[in-house]
Amino acid sequence: MPIKPAHPHLYHSVTLEVAKAKLSHAGRKSLDAPLNLVAYIDMMTMLVIFLLMSFSATGEILFVQKNIVLPNAQNWAELERAPVIGVSKDVVTLDGSQVATADDLMKDSNTGDFKITELHDKLVTLKNNYKLLHPGEDFNGIAIIQSDKGVEFKVLKKIMYSAAVAGYQNVNFAVVPKTKAAGGPAE
């Protein structure tokens, strides 16, 4: 026979039903409370549907830099992985690191050479790295220019020229996609 810890009990000889019920908690209200989970599951389901609809398999390729307001465009294409040249009204960056200031670019060149040396050199390095890492693939020469909408073409043409000389001849401009009647990206 197992050994049990001592606890209050009544002898079989005692016939007090009320006392028995009291000792066995039979008369009390149960402490278990049912949780209403319907609202919680509804909320979670809605959240999952919303997040699935806004899910992008390509991930976040481009981060919006501060001081840059991008223009809108109706005819757009999906972003690809490429070096990102950021052009704000003050500074020009390549993948986040500064390569020139806008003041330098606004000055007229005495020699007529538009090349931005630091930008060109870094782009050439990136191109060489790509060719080393992808030996069997053709280099597509795509660079993304993320420019503020107020930047003048005088600055942009120097950047585009530097990119072209470095081997990046396909320049893509980052834009904010604007919905159109047909919907979807341009082919």
């Binding site: 465009a73 294409a77 972003l79 003048e152 073409f153």
Partner: protein, 158 residues
């Protein structure tokens, strides 16, 4: 954690047909999905507008194999100038705003006249803002000219 389904039976001596649904795996799945989707969510939706470079130094320079219609949209302070070979169609500004609507109409007319023509050059002057250039290129894309080159107005040869 369960939800019971009550069919109302079980009072007349029959075995109860009430069933408890175990919601724990479902809530686990939902929680994992919400966590994953929140971590990988992309909040800023950005896209790209394609442009090529021609007439910028030695890069991107290629000669057409045969004589084709040369279509250039010049953007300057006065407005647009649509140049198709020898024909020029100036589109002045509407007040301070560029007339993108009329530019689109002119480009659509040219596209209808030359359905095989797919390329257009946008020649800009130095002081033109990037926003104007993007809207001009966007208008050209809407008019079914998918191959757009952005060049300097000085190098357009007009």
């Amino acid at each position: 954690m369960s939800v019971s389904v009550d069919s109302g039976g079980g009072k007349s001596g029959k075995k109860s047909v009430n069933a408890d649904l175990n919601l724990v795996p479902y809530i686990d799945l939902l929680t994992c999905m919400v966590s994953f989707l929140l971590i990988t969510a992309v909040w800023s939706q950005l896209a790209r507008l394609e442009a090529h470079q021609k007439g910028q130094g030695q890069a991107g320079e290629d000669t057409p194999p045969e004589k084709q219609l040369k279509l250039v949209v010049v953007v300057n302070d006065e407005g647009f100038n649509v140049v198709a070979d020898q024909d020029q169609q100036p589109i002045p500004k509407k007040g301070t705003e560029y007339d993108y609507e009329k530019l689109g109409t002119e480009l659509k007319k040219l596209k209808d006249a030359h359905p095989d023509k797919g390329d257009v050059q946008v020649a800009s002057e130095d002081q033109i803002k990037f926003d104007v250039l993007v809207r001009t290129m966007d208008t050209a894309l809407t008019a079914r000219f998918p191959d757009i080159s952005l060049i300097d107005a000085g190098g357009a040869g007009i």
